[in-house]
């Protein structure tokens, strides 16, 4: 039964993504008005606090707020250090980590609503034959040039600017600058029919500028996702944040060395984030900081057991030749499928 419903890991992942998209965007319909916030509090990377009726809390929101309201102002007031700084910050990090232990970086590849939306747009792009663009030399350039951006966004927009706002050095309009440009905030609120977040504040220059960047970024990635796989994930500070802890989670990608890897490279073609290291390296280096644990590399590895998704000692999925043969019949490693072609009807 399960085998018929989910013949491939990709089909199973799509089902999980769609369920999580519905839960993160319309969760309160299922779990109730208050419970949605409680679940979000317990699983802090669930969805967006800007959606005030459904779910709430992405770990980046309390992190910015604590740098802004707690740490920055706490340093200024220099009192109640334990309650103002240590406990709230540890609670955010620990509750995030409690969630993280269960699924690790698979949040990005299996749960994130924006990731799901980008993949759905990419499917449309593949179906309609838009040419795939990759971060490889000769096309969009080496992927290494993009990778530092997510770290810069994490440091500057999640940590530094909120802290400076809390210290009183920067404007309070910079209190949660990452949320102000976050395209997931726009996606999840627009999916509930709420255009409030798309509208720009006109009485605050900084808020207007940040909102304009966010809206432009959202528009950009909606179109870019037709040709570029997961365009925003590459610069997402949550991916950087997750990668800080990826070695601590039992859920991980494991690759063992194999002589065919030097000439193959199919796994890196399958990788939506163009991680070349998955083909070139093994061991710890193969589980790269950009990996979202989507499992496509394992699906498209034609060697038995070379790439595995493991939780602790248990292999949840392992590559295999027979699986690979079935998989490529339905979809090429880069996600290409038989495109939809429009042709004029022939008249007799």
């Amino acid at each position: 039964m399960l085998k018929a419903l989910f013949p491939t890991l990709a089909r199973f992942r799509l089902a999980v993504q769609l369920i999580m998209l519905a839960l993160t965007v319309y969760g309160s319909v299922v779990v109730g008005h208050y419970a949605a916030e409680k679940i979000s509090g317990a699983l802090p990377a669930l969805s967006c606090a800007y959606d005030m009726q459904n779910s709430a809390y992405c770990v980046l929101i309390p992190t910015q707020h604590q740098f802004h309201h707690r740490i920055g102002e706490g340093i200024v007031r220099a009192q109640q250090v334990t309650f103002q700084i240590v406990i709230p910050f540890l609670m955010t990090v620990l509750s995030f980590f409690a969630f993280f232990v269960v699924i690790g970086k698979a949040f990005c590849g299996w749960v994130c609503p924006l990731g799901t939306i980008q993949e759905l747009v990419a499917r449309i792009g593949r179906r309609f034959g838009f040419g795939l663009r990759r971060f490889v030399p000769g096309d969009l350039g080496a992927v290494g040039r993009v990778r530092p951006v997510k770290w810069l966004l994490l440091l500057a927009l999640v940590f530094l600017l909120p802290l400076l706002a809390g210290l009183g050095v920067a404007s309070h309009s910079l209190g949660n600058p990452y949320c102000d440009i976050c395209p997931s905030r726009l996606a999840t609120t627009l999916l509930t029919g709420n255009t409030e977040q798309l509208a720009l504040r006109t009485n605050d220059g900084i808020a207007f500028a940040l909102g304009a960047i966010g809206d432009a970024l959202f528009g950009f990635l909606l179109v870019a996702a037709l040709a570029v796989r997961q365009p925003f994930c590459r610069i997402c500070p949550l991916l950087a944040w997750n990668s800080l802890f990826q070695r601590l989670s039992p859920l991980r990608l494991v690759k063992t060395p194999h002589e065919a890897c030097a000439k193959c490279g199919v796994c890196s073609q399958a990788c939506p984030l163009d991680i070349a290291e998955i083909a070139q390296a093994h061991g710890r280096k193969a589980f790269h900081e950009d990996c979202t644990l989507c499992g496509r590399c394992a699906e498209y590895c034609p060697q038995d057991g070379v790439i595995q998704l493991k939780w602790g000692p248990w292999a949840l999925f392992a590559s295999g030749r027979e699986y690979y043969k079935r998989r490529v019949k339905a979809e090429l490693p880069d996600g290409s499928v038989k495109p939809v072609r429009f042709a004029a009807r022939e008249h007799a």
Binding site: M52, R134, G168, L198, D215, V223
Partner: protein, 292 residues
């Protein structure tokens, strides 16, 4: 030069913080108006009374006399779930969550009673740590005449002007039909609503924030500006006059000072910026491109 100015600004900020006798209350910036906007009984925050506190909030009864506040929590042991907190000499009582790590909504009541009158002021205090949902807390009857929100706005949300929210009016635990519910707001609006057969009144928050007032909230506590409101119901029964009020805060309409047209413009601009990515490319060497 710019660095020096920034450094001076940072030093000035530290200096000002060091010289201040005490940090201004989070609520003071928001609730700068005097208390004469209503004659109904209120429970208002004093020092440290901002929403979303973790440790304690100081609430004081206004327009009624009460020696203590009754505090009802959604979580904890029976002793913790109902506590009485004495009102101090400054006219305020410290309301804390049942445990340091437990938060969410707490129902707070002040009651004044004599032979012919029962006056009740009620509100909710929100503590930003996780805690049990207030659904059961709001369902339990506690006084003769009660006004209870059907649903409370969550941590990052507010009651907002132009929005409709449901409130239940109960007498001795039973829904009170055709009961008049009066609304007074800090911004000077007055409203009147009637409960239906289920004791439910739909309250429309008036669009009454003035542009000058809207900038008030962008001060110490960085949140949206808020104004207070109070809902009050009066009833004569069994030779007594019952007056009960529920007060909380509401915020401006989210559409104020926002432009959807500008938002859409920048969204479309971003889309246009991505169009070059849709141009077809020749296949590259590693075989990843399948269409020529």
């Amino acid at each position: 030069m710019k660095t020096a100015l920034l450094t001076l600004a940072a030093l000035a900020a530290f200096e000002a913080a060091a010289q201040a006798p005490a940090a201004p209350p989070a609520a003071a910036g928001r609730y700068a108006k005097s208390q004469d906007w209503t004659a109904y009984p209120l429970l208002l925050p004093a020092l440290g009374g901002g929403r979303g506190e973790r440790l304690a909030v100081r609430l004081g009864p206004r327009n009624l006399h009460a020696a203590a506040l009754d505090v009802f929590a959604a979580d904890g042991s029976p002793e913790q779930r109902h506590r009485q907190v004495p009102v101090g000499e400054d006219g305020n009582a410290a309301v804390a969550p049942v445990a340091p790590a437990k938060g969410n909504y707490t129902w707070v009541v002040a009651r004044e009673e004599d032979a012919t009158h029962v006056t009740v002021a009620s509100t909710v205090a929100y503590f930003s740590n996780p805690g049990k949902a207030p659904t059961a807390l709001l369902r339990e009857p506690r006084h003769e005449l009660e006004i209870v929100p059907e649903r409370l706005p969550r941590e990052h949300a507010n009651y907002r002007e132009s929005e409709k929210w449901g409130f239940l009016v109960r007498f001795n635990g039973a829904p009170l039909a055709n009961q008049v519910l009066k609304l007074d707001t800090d911004n000077g609006s007055r409203g009147r609503f009637l409960t239906d057969a289920e004791g439910r009144a739909v309250v429309l928050f008036p669009r009454d924030f003035r542009p000058a007032a809207e900038s008030r909230g962008h001060g110490h506590d960085h949140g949206p500006p808020r104004a207070r409101f109070v809902l009050a119901a009066e009833l004569d029964a069994a030779d007594k006059h019952y007056l009960t009020a529920f007060n909380y805060s509401y915020a401006p309409d989210a559409d104020r000072d926002r432009s959807l047209a500008w938002g859409a413009f920048f969204g479309v601009l971003g889309m246009a910026g991505a169009l070059p990515l849709l141009r077809r490319r020749k296949p590259f060497k590693d075989g990843g491109q399948i269409d020529a």
